[in-house]
């Protein structure tokens, strides 16, 4: 056991617990349990909002898988990762004030609430809830595996006990503290990521003898590493550009992100969050992936991509600093997992149970149920993650793509196009998810694009056509 690196990690876990306990007081004293537990009473300020957005998004895919792949592919993968910078401003600008105003008007607490109020259709709600539960479950499992792997390589514990510690700590603060605890811990975790990646990048550059030297070493090993095309020359411009949809603009449709776009206090906090978020995402993504590339000449021959980050940190930094820095990816994973967990739980409790099973449930019942469901979900994911598949990044991306294909048009068009109706939303969701799953299984890269691109385009067509075709029907139904 590597104690010097383990102690900082433990300290961070203690801080997270403390935040969870503090936030749970607010939950206990709150007048509206649902609003507080799942949305923090819409009171987030600009800084916390930017942090929680970035931290939720900067998940295991960027922090463990991402640098690992950058290690293998070279600068081409950093280029790909930079397509995420757009999320920093795009999400809040597009959903923007309209979403904030409309969700307040509807008294929506989740994205599904919004869809329910906008389209007034049981099927839209059930389909939306099902997609969230299925896809976010796989995302969550991927993230837990990442978290456990990290603890495993850092402390030398075995995978099962590492997973257990990880699961337990997340479960405690999410279950008792709700959204406010999640957002506050995200702010702490975001700050750790920001500082941690910077320290590690500088130490890596120093260890490699400067940027110039590292580039020389890379191009001596394989000149492709410093081109935009990847180590084998396989990253085509069309494929890399597709990621602008998958991890860039498409993020606007991820339920864990949209829920944050209804949680802020005022337009002033939104403005601040756009500026801070853009800087933060750009800075963290660039640093994190560069670390992966720069690690290659220093530590050649790492086979498992997921281990690049922990190994390079232990190599170039004193052990206790490595512990602090490695809390960064750990923080990233925890902050993604906690928000996913809360989101799936809100889908089960709020969108399914309260809508269709027992609308008249009392305040106390809802409270017990929310906390109970959150805990049970966590335990199920834990069991799934015990026997994990290998490449976390793809599992994770599959879930993101599915959710984007399902929700991007029902949300965006629902906000900005009055003629959009429930038939359009249903057609778009079915087309998007159906095609994505088919395409991902049978034609992984149609026309050299990532498999998410065509479903997103075609589900737009489906939304517009179905909405227009049913204008009359909709009007009759309304009158």
């Amino acid at each position: 056991m590597n104690w010097q690196a383990t102690i900082p990690l433990i300290l961070i876990l203690v801080v997270m617990f403390a935040i969870g306990i503090l936030a749970s007081r607010r939950v206990q004293s709150s007048k509206s349990f649902l609003d507080e537990y799942f949305l923090g009473e819409r009171s987030l300020g600009g800084f916390v909002l930017a942090m929680t957005m970035t931290a939720t998004y900067g998940s295991a895919s960027s922090f463990i898988g991402g640098p690992g792949t950058a290690y293998t592919e070279g600068l081409g993968w950093v280029l790909l990762a930079m397509s995420q910078v757009v999320t920093g401003y795009f999400v809040l600008m597009i959903l923007g004030k309209k979403f904030a105003i409309v969700t307040r008007k509807y008294k929506a607490v989740t994205m599904v609430d919004f869809l329910k109020a906008r389209y007034d259709s049981k099927w839209v709600v059930l389909l939306a809830a099902a997609s969230i539960i299925i896809f976010l479950f796989s995302a969550m499992a991927a993230q837990w595996i990442g978290g456990a792997r990290l603890i495993e390589s850092l402390t030398g514990m075995n995978y099962t006990s590492a997973l257990f510690i990880f699961a337990l700590s997340v479960l405690v603060y999410v279950t008792i503290g709700g959204f406010r605890a999640v957002a506050l811990t995200d702010a702490v975790q975001g700050s750790i990521m920001f500082v941690g990646t910077l320290v590690l990048l500088i130490a890596t550059i120093v260890a490699g003898g400067g940027v110039q030297e590292i580039m020389n070493d890379l191009s001596a090993e394989n000149p492709n590493l410093i081109t935009p095309f990847g180590a084998e020359g396989t990253l085509s411009p069309a494929y890399v550009s597709s990621f602008w949809i998958l991890v860039g603009v498409g993020v606007v449709a991820l339920p864990q992100i949209t829920v944050r776009a209804m949680s802020y206090k005022s337009s002033k906090s939104m403005h601040r969050a756009i500026i801070i978020g853009t800087i933060l995402v750009g800075f963290i993504m660039l640093n994190m992936h560069l670390i992966g590339v720069f690690a290659r000449p220093i530590l050649p021959g790492i086979e498992v991509g997921d281990r690049v980050m922990p190994l390079i940190a232990l190599e170039v930094l004193p052990a206790w600093v490595a512990g602090v820095v490695l809390a960064a990816p750990m923080a990233a994973i925890m902050s993604t997992v906690d928000s996913l967990l809360l989101l799936v739980s809100s889908t089960v409790v709020k969108d399914v149970f309260l809508n269709y099973v027992k609308p008249e449930a009392s305040h106390k019942q809802v409270m017990r149920l929310s906390i109970g469901v959150t805990a049970i979900l966590g335990i199920i994911v834990f069991l799934l993650a015990l026997d994990p598949p290998d490449l976390i990044i793809w599992l994770n991306l599959f879930a993101f793509g599915g959710l984007e294909a399902a929700f991007i048009w029902p949300v965006v068009m629902g906000l900005y196009w009055q003629k959009g109706n429930k038939y359009g939303a249903l057609a778009s969701m079915i087309t998007g998810v159906g095609l994505y799953i088919l395409s991902d299984s049978f034609f992984p890269q149609p026309f050299g694009l990532h498999s998410v691109v065509l479903p997103v385009v075609l589900s737009f067509v489906a939304y517009v056509l179905a909405s227009l075709a049913t204008q009359k029907k909709q009007q009759i139904a309304q009158n």
């Binding site: 600068l75 950093v78 280029l79 930079m82 397509s83 910078v85 757009v86 920093g88 401003y89 795009f90 600008m93 597009i94 923007g96 004030k97 309209k98 904030a100 105003i101 307040r104 008007k105 509807y106 008294k107 109020a117 400067g210 940027v211 110039q212 590292i214 580039m215 191009s219 000149p223 492709n224 410093i226 081109t227 935009p228 095309f229 411009p237 550009s241 602008w244 860039g248 603009v249 005022s266 337009s267 002033k268 403005h271 756009i274 500026i275 853009t278 800087i279 750009g282 800075f283 660039l286 900005y416």
Partner: protein, 94 residues
């Protein structure tokens, strides 16, 4: 839940629509900058690359300068063109 009053467009929606369009514009610009520098300068033989601060020029302009530029642009746009509006309808209890 009350039904929305038909045909009366909230003034805040016009602001929101404009700001959403600005977001799209920024993203398009961001993409063009990123793509043009990466594949414009990066497509030649690596032996002919020029370097800025140790990085290949395509990478420096596309990823590093591009990110800094976007951060500056976003800051300017938000400060100059974004309008503060109240979110709660008047008369609604807090």
């Amino acid at each position: 839940m009350k039904h929305e009053r038909p045909e009366k467009v909230d003034y805040r929606y016009r602001i929101a629509n404009r700001e959403a369009l600005i977001g799209v514009g920024l993203a398009v610009f961001n993409f063009i900058w990123w793509f043009a520098f990466a594949y414009g300068l990066g497509s030649k033989d690596p032996e002919e690359y020029t370097y800025v601060l140790g990085f290949p020029a395509w990478f420096f302009y596309s990823c590093i300068a591009g990110t800094v530029l976007m951060a500056v642009l976003v800051t300017i746009v938000v400060k100059k063109f974004f309008v503060e509006v109240p979110f709660d309808d008047e008369g609604e209890e807090k």
